[in-house]
Symmetry: C2
Subunit: 144 residues, 2 copies
DNA sequence: TCAATAATAGTAATAGTTACTAATATCAAT
DNA sequence: ATTGATATTAGTAACTATTACTATTATTGA
């Protein structure tokens, strides 16, 4: 039996209002403005709950922590291998993919996930900037 | 400057000879037969190294630890949401996917990854077995 | 209003992975 | 073959992301 909770509603609303793909920790920091006493465990628990209910998406990118998406309409995710950010792209439907795959398989295919990898526009321009600067100064690290 | 190491060769050979998709720990246990003193850190370091060189694939499934694949020829991975195992499937090329995606984007798309999710044949039959047994006995947990 | 129990905050524990360091192995140049 | 530079290692510590635990609080149906 599922009971209402102010915290869960706040987490869902937060995800639906924003257009990025935050980590659990980013949601935590953001929701803390309205719910100062909310705990990180509650955020994780509710993100899992909401993802299992299909109200949000959980994205495992392989680069840093998992990310979450309040938009459940079909679309593709581009993942930047440099900064780890996720960028939404228009859906490009893969026609008959599941049928064709099922034909060579004795399990059940429930769905698929298509992720694009590469370098985002921002990381590209940082690259260019660093390249041109490298004539006059040493390599600049993240930590400064 | 890359230097030869017996350990790295052994890890690569192990992955190329097997047809499953082992975790780092599974590779470690397997390689330990020939290299009893190899350390888990060495396995992780070399798996990352080989993946970056394109000699093996690193698969982040979102279910349990990362998995590795010695077969770099294009093919699709099915991931069982119940047991986490990865099963190879024939390639179903996504024609013009990257071109179409690039058109709406200012970054660089280097590649894509298509993963199918569902329930593998083995987990399906365990389900059926449990269903029919449930008439006579209580639910059997993993831990016994 | 009350009892049952779902959900929480806060914290501890865990899994997977990476970082560190002194010792060892590789390899190009003697 | 010997040497020196340095890549790689084993072993261990540290870290990050996530889950589990527990006493307390909130929700809800009766």
């Amino acid at each position: 039996m599922v009971k209402y909770s102010r915290q869960r509603e706040c987490i869902l609303k937060n995800l639906q209002e924003r257009r990025d793909h935050p980590t659990a920790d980013m949601v935590y920091e953001s929701v803390r403005v309205e719910q100062p006493n909310i705990s990180l465990g509650t955020v994780y628990r509710n993100l899992s709950f909401l993802a299992q209910n299909g109200q949000i998406l959980k994205l495992t990118t392989g680069i840093g922590p998992d990310r979450f998406d309040g938009c459940t309409a079909p679309h593709i995710h581009f993942i930047c291998r440099t900064c780890g950010n996720v960028i939404d792209m228009e859906d490009i439907p893969q026609r008959r993919l599941v049928e064709r795959a099922s034909a060579q398989f004795d399990g059940i295919i429930e769905g698929y996930e298509l992720q694009l990898f590469g370098k985002c526009g921002e990381c590209l321009s940082i690259n260019k900037r660093n390249d041109s600067e490298s004539h006059r100064e040493a390599f600049r690290t993240d930590s400064e």
